[in-house]
Assembly symmetry: C2
Homo-oligomer: 305 residues x 2
Amino acid sequence: MSLLTIGTLAFDSIHTPFGKKERVLGGSCTYVSYAASYFTDKINLVSIVGGDFPEEELDNLRNIGVNLNGLEIKRDGKTFFWEGKYHLNMISRDTLVTDLNVLDDFNPVLPESFKTSEFVMLGNLTPSLQEQVLDQLTNPDVFIALDTMNFWMDIAMEKLLEVIRRVDVLVINDEEARQLSGEFALTRAADKILTMGPKFLIIKKGEHGSLLFYESKIFFAPGLPLAEVKDPTGAGDTFAGGFMGYLSKTGDTSFENMKRAIIYGSAMASFCVQEFSLEGIKNLSREAIDKRVKKFSEIVDFNLV
Amino acid sequence: MSLLTIGTLAFDSIHTPFGKKERVLGGSCTYVSYAASYFTDKINLVSIVGGDFPEEELDNLRNIGVNLNGLEIKRDGKTFFWEGKYHLNMISRDTLVTDLNVLDDFNPVLPESFKTSEFVMLGNLTPSLQEQVLDQLTNPDVFIALDTMNFWMDIAMEKLLEVIRRVDVLVINDEEARQLSGEFALTRAADKILTMGPKFLIIKKGEHGSLLFYESKIFFAPGLPLAEVKDPTGAGDTFAGGFMGYLSKTGDTSFENMKRAIIYGSAMASFCVQEFSLEGIKNLSREAIDKRVKKFSEIVDFNLV
Protein backbone atom coordinates (compact mmCIF):
# COMPACT_ATOMS: atom_id res chain seq x y z
CA MET A 1 0.00 0.00 0.00
CA SER A 2 1.16 3.55 -0.59
CA LEU A 3 2.86 5.75 1.99
CA LEU A 4 2.57 9.52 1.87
CA THR A 5 5.41 11.44 3.53
CA ILE A 6 5.06 15.18 4.12
CA GLY A 7 7.82 17.27 5.60
CA THR A 8 11.23 18.64 4.72
CA LEU A 9 14.11 18.02 2.38
CA ALA A 10 17.08 19.85 3.80
CA PHE A 11 20.76 20.48 4.06
CA ASP A 12 22.24 19.94 7.50
CA SER A 13 25.58 20.95 8.95
CA ILE A 14 26.29 18.70 11.86
CA HIS A 15 28.88 19.06 14.60
CA THR A 16 29.46 16.15 16.96
CA PRO A 17 32.27 15.46 19.43
CA PHE A 18 33.58 13.02 16.79
CA GLY A 19 33.51 15.14 13.68
CA LYS A 20 31.78 17.69 11.52
CA LYS A 21 29.89 17.44 8.24
CA GLU A 22 28.96 20.49 6.15
CA ARG A 23 25.72 20.76 4.16
CA VAL A 24 24.90 17.08 4.01
CA LEU A 25 21.53 15.72 2.94
CA GLY A 26 18.83 15.86 5.63
CA GLY A 27 15.15 16.54 6.19
CA SER A 28 12.31 14.46 7.59
CA CYS A 29 10.98 13.27 4.20
CA THR A 30 14.43 12.13 3.22
CA TYR A 31 14.95 9.97 6.29
CA VAL A 32 11.36 8.68 6.17
CA SER A 33 11.71 7.77 2.47
CA TYR A 34 15.01 5.94 2.75
CA ALA A 35 13.89 3.99 5.81
CA ALA A 36 10.50 3.11 4.29
CA SER A 37 12.02 2.14 0.94
CA TYR A 38 13.14 -1.22 2.35
CA PHE A 39 9.48 -2.14 2.84
CA THR A 40 7.54 -0.38 0.07
CA ASP A 41 8.25 1.24 -3.28
CA LYS A 42 5.05 3.25 -3.30
CA ILE A 43 6.22 6.36 -1.51
CA ASN A 44 4.50 9.66 -2.26
CA LEU A 45 6.53 12.65 -1.18
CA VAL A 46 5.26 16.18 -0.57
CA SER A 47 7.85 18.82 0.21
CA ILE A 48 9.62 21.87 -1.16
CA VAL A 49 13.23 22.57 -2.20
CA GLY A 50 15.17 25.40 -3.79
CA GLY A 51 17.08 25.49 -7.05
CA ASP A 52 20.20 24.49 -5.13
CA PHE A 53 18.91 20.99 -4.42
CA PRO A 54 21.01 18.50 -6.42
CA GLU A 55 19.24 16.76 -9.28
CA GLU A 56 21.29 13.70 -8.37
CA GLU A 57 19.62 13.42 -4.95
CA LEU A 58 16.21 13.64 -6.61
CA ASP A 59 17.24 10.80 -8.90
CA ASN A 60 18.37 8.80 -5.87
CA LEU A 61 14.94 9.26 -4.32
CA ARG A 62 13.20 8.24 -7.54
CA ASN A 63 15.41 5.16 -7.70
CA ILE A 64 14.25 3.93 -4.29
CA GLY A 65 10.61 4.22 -5.33
CA VAL A 66 9.72 7.77 -4.34
CA ASN A 67 7.11 9.60 -6.44
CA LEU A 68 8.18 13.26 -6.53
CA ASN A 69 5.03 14.65 -8.19
CA GLY A 70 4.27 16.41 -4.91
CA LEU A 71 7.66 18.08 -4.67
CA GLU A 72 7.71 21.81 -5.37
CA ILE A 73 11.00 23.11 -6.73
CA LYS A 74 11.47 26.86 -6.35
CA ARG A 75 14.24 27.57 -8.84
CA ASP A 76 15.00 31.00 -7.39
CA GLY A 77 14.87 29.86 -3.77
CA LYS A 78 17.21 28.06 -1.38
CA THR A 79 16.58 24.75 0.34
CA PHE A 80 15.86 24.62 4.09
CA PHE A 81 19.10 24.60 6.08
CA TRP A 82 19.78 23.51 9.65
CA GLU A 83 23.02 23.57 11.59
CA GLY A 84 23.39 21.99 15.00
CA LYS A 85 25.97 20.89 17.50
CA TYR A 86 25.58 17.80 19.64
CA HIS A 87 26.78 17.66 23.23
CA LEU A 88 29.07 14.92 24.45
CA ASN A 89 26.10 12.73 25.41
CA MET A 90 25.02 12.76 21.73
CA ILE A 91 21.44 13.39 22.83
CA SER A 92 21.05 17.06 23.69
CA ARG A 93 22.07 19.56 21.03
CA ASP A 94 22.21 23.26 20.29
CA THR A 95 20.73 24.65 17.11
CA LEU A 96 23.25 27.04 15.59
CA VAL A 97 21.39 28.06 12.42
CA THR A 98 17.87 27.54 11.09
CA ASP A 99 17.36 29.04 7.63
CA LEU A 100 13.78 28.27 6.63
CA ASN A 101 14.39 29.59 3.11
CA VAL A 102 11.77 28.08 0.74
CA LEU A 103 10.11 26.28 3.65
CA ASP A 104 8.69 29.67 4.63
CA ASP A 105 6.48 29.48 1.51
CA PHE A 106 5.57 25.81 1.88
CA ASN A 107 1.97 25.29 0.79
CA PRO A 108 1.49 21.54 0.66
CA VAL A 109 -0.80 20.70 -2.24
CA LEU A 110 -1.38 17.00 -2.80
CA PRO A 111 -1.44 15.68 -6.37
CA GLU A 112 -4.77 13.96 -7.03
CA SER A 113 -3.26 10.47 -6.92
CA PHE A 114 -1.69 11.15 -3.49
CA LYS A 115 -5.00 11.99 -1.82
CA THR A 116 -6.03 8.36 -1.56
CA SER A 117 -2.77 7.16 0.06
CA GLU A 118 -3.42 4.42 2.59
CA PHE A 119 -0.70 5.46 5.04
CA VAL A 120 0.39 8.99 5.86
CA MET A 121 3.45 10.11 7.80
CA LEU A 122 2.72 13.72 8.65
CA GLY A 123 6.06 15.24 9.58
CA ASN A 124 6.84 17.95 12.11
CA LEU A 125 5.48 21.19 10.57
CA THR A 126 3.28 24.02 11.84
CA PRO A 127 -0.04 22.53 12.99
CA SER A 128 -1.92 24.64 10.44
CA LEU A 129 0.09 23.15 7.58
CA GLN A 130 -0.56 19.72 9.03
CA GLU A 131 -4.27 20.52 9.11
CA GLN A 132 -4.12 21.67 5.50
CA VAL A 133 -2.75 18.25 4.53
CA LEU A 134 -5.38 16.37 6.53
CA ASP A 135 -8.10 18.36 4.75
CA GLN A 136 -6.90 17.05 1.39
CA LEU A 137 -6.95 13.35 2.26
CA THR A 138 -9.91 11.48 0.76
CA ASN A 139 -9.32 7.83 1.71
CA PRO A 140 -11.80 7.08 4.52
CA ASP A 141 -9.57 4.23 5.75
CA VAL A 142 -6.36 6.22 5.76
CA PHE A 143 -3.99 5.53 8.66
CA ILE A 144 -2.21 8.69 9.81
CA ALA A 145 0.88 9.07 11.97
CA LEU A 146 1.76 12.51 13.30
CA ASP A 147 5.07 13.95 14.46
CA THR A 148 5.30 17.26 16.32
CA MET A 149 7.51 19.03 18.86
CA ASN A 150 7.50 21.11 22.07
CA PHE A 151 7.79 24.32 20.08
CA TRP A 152 4.26 23.94 18.64
CA MET A 153 2.91 23.09 22.07
CA ASP A 154 4.34 26.39 23.28
CA ILE A 155 2.95 28.60 20.54
CA ALA A 156 0.04 26.79 18.82
CA MET A 157 -1.36 24.27 21.28
CA GLU A 158 -5.00 24.78 20.31
CA LYS A 159 -4.45 24.12 16.62
CA LEU A 160 -2.13 21.23 17.46
CA LEU A 161 -4.84 19.60 19.57
CA GLU A 162 -7.23 19.87 16.62
CA VAL A 163 -4.73 18.07 14.44
CA ILE A 164 -3.94 15.43 17.06
CA ARG A 165 -7.66 14.68 17.30
CA ARG A 166 -7.66 13.54 13.69
CA VAL A 167 -4.74 11.13 13.59
CA ASP A 168 -4.36 7.43 14.37
CA VAL A 169 -0.96 7.40 15.98
CA LEU A 170 1.03 10.17 17.60
CA VAL A 171 4.82 9.69 17.58
CA ILE A 172 6.59 11.93 20.11
CA ASN A 173 9.40 11.75 22.62
CA ASP A 174 9.12 11.50 26.40
CA GLU A 175 9.54 15.22 27.09
CA GLU A 176 6.91 16.06 24.49
CA ALA A 177 4.49 13.53 25.99
CA ARG A 178 5.02 15.13 29.39
CA GLN A 179 4.43 18.63 28.09
CA LEU A 180 1.39 17.66 26.04
CA SER A 181 -0.29 15.86 28.93
CA GLY A 182 0.98 17.80 31.93
CA GLU A 183 1.78 14.43 33.52
CA PHE A 184 5.24 13.26 34.50
CA ALA A 185 4.66 9.50 34.65
CA LEU A 186 4.57 8.21 31.08
CA THR A 187 1.69 5.80 31.72
CA ARG A 188 -0.43 8.69 33.02
CA ALA A 189 0.69 10.87 30.13
CA ALA A 190 -0.33 8.11 27.73
CA ASP A 191 -3.73 7.66 29.37
CA LYS A 192 -4.44 11.36 28.87
CA ILE A 193 -3.11 11.56 25.33
CA LEU A 194 -5.16 8.55 24.25
CA THR A 195 -8.28 10.53 25.21
CA MET A 196 -7.22 13.32 22.83
CA GLY A 197 -7.99 11.36 19.68
CA PRO A 198 -5.22 8.99 18.60
CA LYS A 199 -5.83 5.28 19.02
CA PHE A 200 -2.12 4.60 19.44
CA LEU A 201 0.68 6.53 21.09
CA ILE A 202 4.38 5.94 20.58
CA ILE A 203 6.74 7.56 23.06
CA LYS A 204 10.35 7.57 21.87
CA LYS A 205 13.03 7.50 24.57
CA GLY A 206 16.12 7.73 22.35
CA GLU A 207 18.80 5.22 23.30
CA HIS A 208 16.43 3.78 25.93
CA GLY A 209 13.95 2.49 23.36
CA SER A 210 10.31 3.33 22.85
CA LEU A 211 6.88 2.59 24.26
CA LEU A 212 3.69 1.81 22.36
CA PHE A 213 0.43 2.47 24.16
CA TYR A 214 -2.91 1.10 22.93
CA GLU A 215 -6.00 0.92 25.12
CA SER A 216 -4.61 -0.44 28.39
CA LYS A 217 -1.76 -2.31 26.72
CA ILE A 218 1.91 -1.33 26.68
CA PHE A 219 4.74 -2.60 24.51
CA PHE A 220 8.35 -1.71 25.27
CA ALA A 221 10.76 -1.82 22.32
CA PRO A 222 14.33 -1.87 23.63
CA GLY A 223 17.10 0.43 22.52
CA LEU A 224 19.99 -1.54 21.10
CA PRO A 225 23.24 -0.63 22.90
CA LEU A 226 25.64 0.53 20.18
CA ALA A 227 29.40 0.77 20.41
CA GLU A 228 29.45 3.82 18.17
CA VAL A 229 26.97 6.64 17.58
CA LYS A 230 28.24 9.10 15.03
CA ASP A 231 25.21 11.27 14.31
CA PRO A 232 21.75 11.07 15.90
CA THR A 233 20.26 13.46 13.30
CA GLY A 234 17.21 11.94 11.63
CA ALA A 235 16.95 8.97 13.99
CA GLY A 236 13.35 9.85 14.90
CA ASP A 237 12.33 10.26 11.26
CA THR A 238 14.10 7.05 10.33
CA PHE A 239 12.23 5.26 13.11
CA ALA A 240 8.96 6.67 11.77
CA GLY A 241 9.88 5.72 8.20
CA GLY A 242 10.71 2.14 9.10
CA PHE A 243 7.59 1.91 11.24
CA MET A 244 5.22 3.31 8.61
CA GLY A 245 7.01 1.50 5.78
CA TYR A 246 6.47 -1.81 7.54
CA LEU A 247 2.79 -0.99 8.13
CA SER A 248 2.38 -0.01 4.45
CA LYS A 249 3.96 -3.25 3.36
CA THR A 250 1.79 -5.43 5.60
CA GLY A 251 -1.38 -3.32 5.58
CA ASP A 252 -2.01 -4.55 9.11
CA THR A 253 -2.54 -2.07 11.97
CA SER A 254 -3.31 -4.59 14.71
CA PHE A 255 -1.47 -4.13 18.02
CA GLU A 256 0.60 -7.26 17.33
CA ASN A 257 1.75 -5.97 13.96
CA MET A 258 2.37 -2.47 15.33
CA LYS A 259 4.87 -4.07 17.72
CA ARG A 260 6.74 -5.63 14.80
CA ALA A 261 6.61 -2.32 12.94
CA ILE A 262 8.19 -0.56 15.93
CA ILE A 263 10.98 -3.11 16.05
CA TYR A 264 11.66 -2.54 12.34
CA GLY A 265 11.58 1.20 12.92
CA SER A 266 14.00 0.83 15.84
CA ALA A 267 16.32 -1.31 13.73
CA MET A 268 16.38 1.30 10.95
CA ALA A 269 17.08 4.05 13.51
CA SER A 270 19.95 2.02 14.93
CA PHE A 271 21.56 1.94 11.48
CA CYS A 272 20.90 5.65 11.01
CA VAL A 273 22.88 6.86 14.03
CA GLN A 274 25.94 4.80 13.18
CA GLU A 275 26.87 7.09 10.27
CA PHE A 276 26.48 10.76 9.36
CA SER A 277 23.45 11.99 7.43
CA LEU A 278 21.71 9.29 5.36
CA GLU A 279 24.81 7.15 4.97
CA GLY A 280 23.77 4.62 7.58
CA ILE A 281 20.46 3.78 5.87
CA LYS A 282 21.46 3.90 2.21
CA ASN A 283 22.32 0.63 0.49
CA LEU A 284 21.46 -1.74 3.32
CA SER A 285 21.00 -5.38 2.44
CA ARG A 286 17.84 -7.24 3.36
CA GLU A 287 20.08 -9.61 5.27
CA ALA A 288 21.64 -6.83 7.36
CA ILE A 289 18.19 -5.55 8.32
CA ASP A 290 16.90 -8.99 9.25
CA LYS A 291 20.02 -9.63 11.31
CA ARG A 292 19.61 -6.32 13.15
CA VAL A 293 15.94 -7.00 13.84
CA LYS A 294 16.86 -10.39 15.24
CA LYS A 295 19.21 -8.66 17.69
CA PHE A 296 16.25 -6.73 19.08
CA SER A 297 14.49 -10.00 19.63
CA GLU A 298 17.48 -11.71 21.25
CA ILE A 299 18.37 -8.90 23.59
CA VAL A 300 15.08 -9.04 25.49
CA ASP A 301 14.63 -12.79 25.27
CA PHE A 302 14.22 -14.72 28.51
CA ASN A 303 12.20 -17.68 29.74
CA LEU A 304 10.50 -17.57 33.09
CA VAL A 305 10.56 -21.30 33.87
CA MET B 1 21.73 -21.65 49.47
CA SER B 2 22.73 -18.93 51.90
CA LEU B 3 23.03 -15.26 51.01
CA LEU B 4 25.37 -12.97 52.91
CA THR B 5 24.45 -9.27 52.86
CA ILE B 6 26.95 -6.70 54.09
CA GLY B 7 26.13 -3.02 54.27
CA THR B 8 24.02 -0.60 56.26
CA LEU B 9 20.95 -0.52 58.46
CA ALA B 10 19.84 3.09 58.58
CA PHE B 11 17.27 5.73 59.27
CA ASP B 12 16.34 7.87 56.28
CA SER B 13 14.46 11.14 56.07
CA ILE B 14 13.08 11.43 52.58
CA HIS B 15 11.66 14.47 50.81
CA THR B 16 9.92 13.95 47.49
CA PRO B 17 7.65 16.28 45.50
CA PHE B 18 4.80 14.14 46.80
CA GLY B 19 5.53 14.02 50.49
CA LYS B 20 8.02 13.70 53.29
CA LYS B 21 8.87 10.90 55.67
CA GLU B 22 10.99 11.39 58.80
CA ARG B 23 13.44 8.79 60.13
CA VAL B 24 11.98 5.79 58.35
CA LEU B 25 13.76 2.46 58.06
CA GLY B 26 16.46 2.31 55.39
CA GLY B 27 19.93 0.95 54.60
CA SER B 28 21.24 -1.39 51.96
CA CYS B 29 21.09 -4.57 54.06
CA THR B 30 17.50 -3.85 54.94
CA TYR B 31 16.37 -3.53 51.33
CA VAL B 32 18.50 -6.48 50.23
CA SER B 33 17.11 -8.66 53.02
CA TYR B 34 13.44 -7.88 52.45
CA ALA B 35 13.75 -8.35 48.70
CA ALA B 36 15.73 -11.58 49.03
CA SER B 37 13.39 -12.98 51.69
CA TYR B 38 10.83 -13.92 49.03
CA PHE B 39 13.34 -16.36 47.57
CA THR B 40 15.44 -17.62 50.48
CA ASP B 41 15.24 -17.77 54.26
CA LYS B 42 18.96 -18.24 54.69
CA ILE B 43 20.09 -14.64 54.87
CA ASN B 44 23.21 -13.77 56.83
CA LEU B 45 23.45 -10.10 57.69
CA VAL B 46 26.58 -8.17 58.64
CA SER B 47 26.11 -4.56 59.69
CA ILE B 48 26.18 -2.18 62.63
CA VAL B 49 23.50 -0.16 64.43
CA GLY B 50 23.26 2.08 67.47
CA GLY B 51 21.25 1.66 70.64
CA ASP B 52 18.46 3.67 69.01
CA PHE B 53 17.64 0.94 66.50
CA PRO B 54 14.21 -0.50 67.37
CA GLU B 55 14.17 -4.05 68.71
CA GLU B 56 10.94 -4.49 66.78
CA GLU B 57 12.69 -3.99 63.44
CA LEU B 58 15.30 -6.57 64.41
CA ASP B 59 12.47 -8.98 65.18
CA ASN B 60 10.93 -8.22 61.80
CA LEU B 61 14.22 -9.10 60.13
CA ARG B 62 14.51 -12.33 62.13
CA ASN B 63 10.95 -13.21 61.13
CA ILE B 64 11.74 -13.05 57.42
CA GLY B 65 14.70 -15.40 57.84
CA VAL B 66 17.59 -13.07 58.57
CA ASN B 67 20.37 -14.34 60.82
CA LEU B 68 21.57 -11.34 62.85
CA ASN B 69 24.62 -12.99 64.42
CA GLY B 70 26.78 -10.66 62.36
CA LEU B 71 25.03 -7.50 63.49
CA GLU B 72 26.99 -5.33 65.90
CA ILE B 73 24.84 -3.24 68.22
CA LYS B 74 26.66 -0.28 69.78
CA ARG B 75 24.41 0.56 72.70
CA ASP B 76 25.99 3.99 73.25
CA GLY B 77 26.03 4.91 69.56
CA LYS B 78 23.53 6.17 67.02
CA THR B 79 22.45 4.41 63.84
CA PHE B 80 23.59 5.71 60.44
CA PHE B 81 21.29 8.51 59.24
CA TRP B 82 20.71 9.87 55.74
CA GLU B 83 18.44 12.69 54.63
CA GLY B 84 17.82 13.50 51.00
CA LYS B 85 15.54 15.44 48.74
CA TYR B 86 14.44 14.17 45.33
CA HIS B 87 13.98 16.48 42.37
CA LEU B 88 10.77 16.54 40.38
CA ASN B 89 12.09 13.85 38.03
CA MET B 90 12.38 11.49 41.03
CA ILE B 91 15.79 10.40 39.80
CA SER B 92 18.32 13.05 40.76
CA ARG B 93 18.50 14.02 44.41
CA ASP B 94 20.38 16.20 46.84
CA THR B 95 21.83 14.77 50.01
CA LEU B 96 20.91 17.07 52.90
CA VAL B 97 22.45 15.17 55.82
CA THR B 98 24.79 12.18 56.15
CA ASP B 99 25.46 11.22 59.77
CA LEU B 100 27.74 8.20 59.67
CA ASN B 101 27.42 7.73 63.45
CA VAL B 102 28.27 4.10 64.32
CA LEU B 103 29.09 3.35 60.67
CA ASP B 104 32.30 5.28 61.24
CA ASP B 105 33.46 2.40 63.48
CA PHE B 106 32.18 -0.40 61.25
CA ASN B 107 34.61 -3.29 61.37
CA PRO B 108 32.86 -6.14 59.59
CA VAL B 109 33.76 -9.40 61.28
CA LEU B 110 32.02 -12.45 59.89
CA PRO B 111 30.74 -15.10 62.32
CA GLU B 112 32.35 -18.45 61.51
CA SER B 113 29.17 -19.86 59.94
CA PHE B 114 28.84 -16.87 57.61
CA LYS B 115 32.28 -17.37 56.03
CA THR B 116 31.08 -20.27 53.91
CA SER B 117 28.05 -18.44 52.46
CA GLU B 118 27.44 -19.45 48.84
CA PHE B 119 26.25 -16.01 47.68
CA VAL B 120 27.50 -12.63 48.86
CA MET B 121 25.97 -9.22 48.23
CA LEU B 122 28.75 -6.82 49.12
CA GLY B 123 27.05 -3.45 49.60
CA ASN B 124 28.39 0.00 48.85
CA LEU B 125 31.06 0.67 51.51
CA THR B 126 34.65 1.93 51.42
CA PRO B 127 36.66 -0.38 49.17
CA SER B 128 38.97 -1.26 52.08
CA LEU B 129 36.03 -2.52 54.16
CA GLN B 130 34.85 -4.49 51.15
CA GLU B 131 38.31 -6.00 50.87
CA GLN B 132 38.27 -6.89 54.54
CA VAL B 133 35.07 -8.86 53.96
CA LEU B 134 36.45 -10.65 50.91
CA ASP B 135 39.47 -11.72 52.96
CA GLN B 136 37.21 -13.52 55.42
CA LEU B 137 35.30 -15.62 52.86
CA THR B 138 36.38 -19.26 52.77
CA ASN B 139 34.01 -20.92 50.28
CA PRO B 140 36.05 -21.49 47.10
CA ASP B 141 32.84 -21.53 45.02
CA VAL B 142 31.36 -18.36 46.51
CA PHE B 143 29.53 -16.08 44.05
CA ILE B 144 30.08 -12.41 44.89
CA ALA B 145 28.15 -9.36 43.71
CA LEU B 146 29.60 -5.92 44.37
CA ASP B 147 27.94 -2.52 44.60
CA THR B 148 29.92 0.72 44.64
CA MET B 149 29.56 4.38 43.66
CA ASN B 150 31.27 7.30 41.89
CA PHE B 151 32.54 8.65 45.21
CA TRP B 152 34.94 5.70 45.69
CA MET B 153 36.10 6.01 42.10
CA ASP B 154 37.02 9.62 42.88
CA ILE B 155 38.94 8.99 46.10
CA ALA B 156 39.98 5.31 46.21
CA MET B 157 40.12 4.02 42.66
CA GLU B 158 43.17 1.83 43.14
CA LYS B 159 41.75 -0.06 46.10
CA LEU B 160 38.37 -0.28 44.37
CA LEU B 161 39.97 -1.90 41.32
CA GLU B 162 41.60 -4.49 43.60
CA VAL B 163 38.19 -5.33 45.02
CA ILE B 164 36.48 -5.39 41.61
CA ARG B 165 39.09 -7.88 40.43
CA ARG B 166 37.88 -10.38 43.02
CA VAL B 167 34.12 -10.39 42.40
CA ASP B 168 31.84 -12.28 40.00
CA VAL B 169 29.34 -9.58 39.14
CA LEU B 170 29.57 -5.83 39.43
CA VAL B 171 26.24 -4.01 39.83
CA ILE B 172 26.50 -0.30 39.02
CA ASN B 173 24.52 2.39 37.22
CA ASP B 174 25.23 3.88 33.80
CA GLU B 175 27.11 6.93 35.08
CA GLU B 176 29.28 4.75 37.30
CA ALA B 177 30.04 2.42 34.38
CA ARG B 178 31.10 5.42 32.30
CA GLN B 179 33.33 6.79 35.04
CA LEU B 180 34.90 3.44 35.84
CA SER B 181 35.72 2.67 32.19
CA GLY B 182 36.28 6.14 30.76
CA GLU B 183 33.99 5.10 27.90
CA PHE B 184 30.69 6.77 27.06
CA ALA B 185 29.04 4.01 25.02
CA LEU B 186 27.81 1.37 27.45
CA THR B 187 28.89 -1.56 25.26
CA ARG B 188 32.43 -0.22 25.19
CA ALA B 189 32.29 0.49 28.92
CA ALA B 190 31.16 -3.09 29.48
CA ASP B 191 33.91 -4.52 27.31
CA LYS B 192 36.51 -2.69 29.40
CA ILE B 193 34.96 -3.51 32.77
CA LEU B 194 34.74 -7.21 31.91
CA THR B 195 38.53 -7.19 31.53
CA MET B 196 38.87 -5.85 35.10
CA GLY B 197 37.87 -9.13 36.73
CA PRO B 198 34.11 -9.67 36.98
CA LYS B 199 32.58 -12.31 34.73
CA PHE B 200 29.28 -10.45 34.65
CA LEU B 201 28.38 -6.77 34.62
CA ILE B 202 24.96 -5.33 35.37
CA ILE B 203 24.37 -1.71 34.39
CA LYS B 204 21.26 -0.22 36.01
CA LYS B 205 19.52 2.54 34.09
CA GLY B 206 16.78 3.37 36.62
CA GLU B 207 13.33 3.69 35.01
CA HIS B 208 14.88 2.64 31.68
CA GLY B 209 15.73 -0.86 32.86
CA SER B 210 19.06 -2.60 33.12
CA LEU B 211 21.64 -4.36 31.00
CA LEU B 212 23.46 -7.60 31.72
CA PHE B 213 26.77 -8.15 29.96
CA TYR B 214 28.47 -11.54 29.80
CA GLU B 215 31.24 -12.37 27.35
CA SER B 216 29.90 -10.91 24.10
CA LYS B 217 26.25 -11.35 25.09
CA ILE B 218 23.84 -8.64 26.20
CA PHE B 219 20.48 -8.93 27.93
CA PHE B 220 18.19 -5.93 28.30
CA ALA B 221 15.68 -6.06 31.16
CA PRO B 222 12.99 -3.45 30.60
CA GLY B 223 11.89 -0.87 33.12
CA LEU B 224 8.21 -1.22 33.87
CA PRO B 225 6.40 2.10 33.29
CA LEU B 226 4.66 2.93 36.57
CA ALA B 227 1.80 5.35 37.11
CA GLU B 228 3.15 6.33 40.50
CA VAL B 229 6.63 6.52 41.96
CA LYS B 230 6.59 7.66 45.57
CA ASP B 231 10.13 7.04 46.73
CA PRO B 232 13.09 5.71 44.71
CA THR B 233 15.21 5.20 47.86
CA GLY B 234 16.54 1.66 48.06
CA ALA B 235 15.45 0.65 44.55
CA GLY B 236 19.00 -0.36 43.60
CA ASP B 237 19.47 -2.42 46.78
CA THR B 238 16.05 -4.00 46.31
CA PHE B 239 17.01 -4.93 42.75
CA ALA B 240 20.23 -6.47 44.06
CA GLY B 241 18.35 -8.31 46.83
CA GLY B 242 15.80 -9.80 44.44
CA PHE B 243 18.55 -10.70 42.00
CA MET B 244 20.82 -12.38 44.55
CA GLY B 245 17.87 -13.92 46.39
CA TYR B 246 16.73 -15.60 43.20
CA LEU B 247 20.26 -16.84 42.48
CA SER B 248 20.55 -18.19 46.04
CA LYS B 249 17.26 -20.00 45.67
CA THR B 250 18.16 -21.60 42.35
CA GLY B 251 21.91 -21.98 42.86
CA ASP B 252 22.31 -21.48 39.13
CA THR B 253 24.59 -18.75 37.78
CA SER B 254 24.25 -19.55 34.08
CA PHE B 255 23.56 -16.60 31.76
CA GLU B 256 20.00 -17.85 31.18
CA ASN B 257 19.26 -17.97 34.88
CA MET B 258 20.96 -14.62 35.49
CA LYS B 259 18.42 -13.12 33.08
CA ARG B 260 15.55 -14.50 35.14
CA ALA B 261 17.23 -13.26 38.32
CA ILE B 262 17.44 -9.75 36.86
CA ILE B 263 13.77 -9.81 35.97
CA TYR B 264 12.92 -10.83 39.55
CA GLY B 265 15.19 -8.09 40.86
CA SER B 266 13.52 -5.57 38.55
CA ALA B 267 10.09 -6.70 39.71
CA MET B 268 11.05 -6.27 43.37
CA ALA B 269 12.47 -2.79 42.62
CA SER B 270 9.22 -1.83 40.87
CA PHE B 271 7.31 -2.64 44.07
CA CYS B 272 9.88 -0.75 46.16
CA VAL B 273 9.48 2.63 44.47
CA GLN B 274 5.69 2.59 44.70
CA GLU B 275 5.76 3.25 48.47
CA PHE B 276 8.00 5.02 50.96
CA SER B 277 10.84 3.20 52.72
CA LEU B 278 10.37 -0.59 52.91
CA GLU B 279 6.56 -0.44 52.72
CA GLY B 280 6.41 -1.46 49.08
CA ILE B 281 8.32 -4.72 49.60
CA LYS B 282 6.97 -5.84 52.97
CA ASN B 283 4.16 -8.38 53.01
CA LEU B 284 3.98 -9.09 49.29
CA SER B 285 2.15 -12.21 48.22
CA ARG B 286 3.79 -14.80 46.00
CA GLU B 287 0.95 -14.19 43.58
CA ALA B 288 1.61 -10.45 43.39
CA ILE B 289 5.29 -11.08 42.62
CA ASP B 290 4.52 -13.66 39.94
CA LYS B 291 1.98 -11.32 38.36
CA ARG B 292 4.49 -8.47 38.32
CA VAL B 293 7.18 -10.66 36.80
CA LYS B 294 4.73 -11.73 34.10
CA LYS B 295 4.23 -8.06 33.22
CA PHE B 296 7.95 -7.78 32.49
CA SER B 297 7.61 -10.70 30.15
CA GLU B 298 4.50 -9.36 28.42
CA ILE B 299 5.74 -5.84 27.92
CA VAL B 300 8.64 -6.89 25.68
CA ASP B 301 6.85 -9.76 23.98
CA PHE B 302 6.60 -9.75 20.21
CA ASN B 303 6.76 -12.28 17.40
CA LEU B 304 8.72 -11.51 14.31
CA VAL B 305 6.72 -13.50 11.79
